[in-house]
Symmetry: C2
């Protein structure tokens, strides 16, 4: 343990030494001169060493006082830096924000938010970790990210989930299958065409597979690809019918390079949400981001 039981004394000492005057130190510390005088005396008594020469023009350090000052000064400098840093963190002038999610969500959903956030808080360093939903959950639990953006539902008592916008998945095709443009297909009819699915174990793929299963069908994709962009590109080139999120292909639907295939069953909408660790405090940076989304 320490000799003095009050580190405040070092602050007073620091200012007294720095200003060379107990009165000035008192001003700087917003206390009265007798308080400073008293504090210095306490410090001196605790060491049994005189730290200042007192004159009628102020105080000056003794040999020993100078030695003490050289250490205390460093200490105070670090404290000052620490407080600066904390203030910067609070003001979102610095810090970092680590987000987990899939690449497609980053690109099609989060990008505008990320841009706005970065514009508003250029001091915050953004870290994006892509992964599947279970991977993102693992990242969260390991403390490697501050928040995750995934498709719902997520059922995990350790996680706090905030529902965000709703997405509608659908099947789309390009010019090659123009004959289907105004038709309404049943699931078996659809299955006669080559279906393109996301290759990885994504929540979207699980959803559609389960939908088919609930009607007694087994959906086998003709083609599996590794990114949403490829799903879109393959459909446009007529390689098959892709299962995509409608909101992510709005541009292609508008300009006609893709069209949605109507089905005689409803594909349930999926919800997007953010998740964070329950009972774990968030950084200011993360809190602010969640407010935006």
């Amino acid at each position: 343990m320490s000799i003095t039981n009050n580190y405040e004394l070092y602050k007073v000492f620091y200012w007294a030494a720095k200003t060379g005057s107990l009165s000035q130190a008192a001003k700087a510390l917003y206390i009265t001169q007798p308080s400073v005088s008293h504090a210095i005396k306490q410090l001196e008594d605790s060491f049994g060493i005189t730290l200042f020469y007192r004159t009628s023009r102020g105080v000056s350090l003794t040999q020993e006082g100078s030695l003490l000052y050289s250490y205390v000064e460093q200490s105070q400098i670090f404290i000052a830096l620490a407080e600066e840093k904390m203030a910067a963190l609070k003001n979102l002038d610095s810090g970092e924000l680590r987000i987990g999610g899939s690449d497609s969500l980053f690109k099609h959903f989060l990008l505008p938010y990320l841009e706005e956030y970065h514009r508003k808080y250029p001091g915050i360093r953004l870290h994006l970790n892509h992964g599947t939903t279970p991977e993102v959950i693992t990242f969260l639990k390991e403390g490697r990210i501050d928040l995750g953006v995934v498709r719902l539902p997520i059922v995990d008592p350790q996680l706090e989930v905030r529902e965000s916008i709703q997405l509608q998945d659908c099947f789309v095709a390009g010019e090659r299958y123009a004959e289907l443009r105004d038709k309404t297909l049943s699931l078996p009819e659809l299955m006669e065409y080559p279906v393109i699915l996301f290759s990885r174990n994504s929540r979207a793929r699980m959803t559609i597979t389960e939908l088919f299963q609930s009607y007694g069908h087994k959906l086998k994709p003709e083609i599996e690809v590794g990114s949403v962009d490829l799903l879109i590109e393959f459909a446009r080139r007529g390689l098959g019918i892709s299962y995509v999120t409608r909101e992510f292909v709005s541009q292609e639907l508008d300009n006609g390079s893709l069209f949605e295939i109507k089905l005689d069953v409803d594909i349930p909408p999926s919800h997007l949400g953010t998740m964070t660790m329950r009972n774990m405090p968030l950084t200011s940076a993360a809190t602010r981001f969640l407010e935006m989304v």
Copy 2:
């Protein structure tokens, strides 16, 4: 000024982070766990930032807490070093002692004390500054030495003088003037012989010059030398009669290589003393040395 008005909080934070437990921090700081809990909350509130994750197994730093810790740790290390240093100074395990005086006093009077002091407190660095009495006084006033050892009297209200041992100056000669061994000389008779004096404006020389003057004589030395050793050596070789301090030639008087010349007037004894600045605190090292002398 600082954000927090109590640097104590950093100490608590430091220990909480270091031990990873509020309870353990409380033990280390000899306070109770609720106090620590309260202190941490204060710190967090002052920043508006959560610093710890609380679990039922203790606490761990948040991202921001870690950042704060990296600064606070440095600060605390410097404080610990400072307290160590102060303790060492107090124990006389380190520090320095700066003494001013004439070379002859160092050699003939102070040497045994210095040796003992150095043996007892090997951590204290000794600085010896030689000079005449007025120079030593200047050194003192400029703060370049802690204490001076000089011949008295010294009259200076700024100085605090402690009388030490008494010295007796006298004239001595060697074999060459053996005829004077049992005689008692008057001042005019002495003046017929070549007199060797210290060249510099020393107090000893002033004293003897004034003594002659008070009897209406003007003492003109045949030879002037720059050190007490030369005064002795010249007298032994028969170059003249040296005015020296009896205590400094006791060895030569004992072995007969020099003898004292008796005079029909008394040379007033001179006192040796230590002087320090009045109203200026002394270092522990200096205080201890003064106690020894």
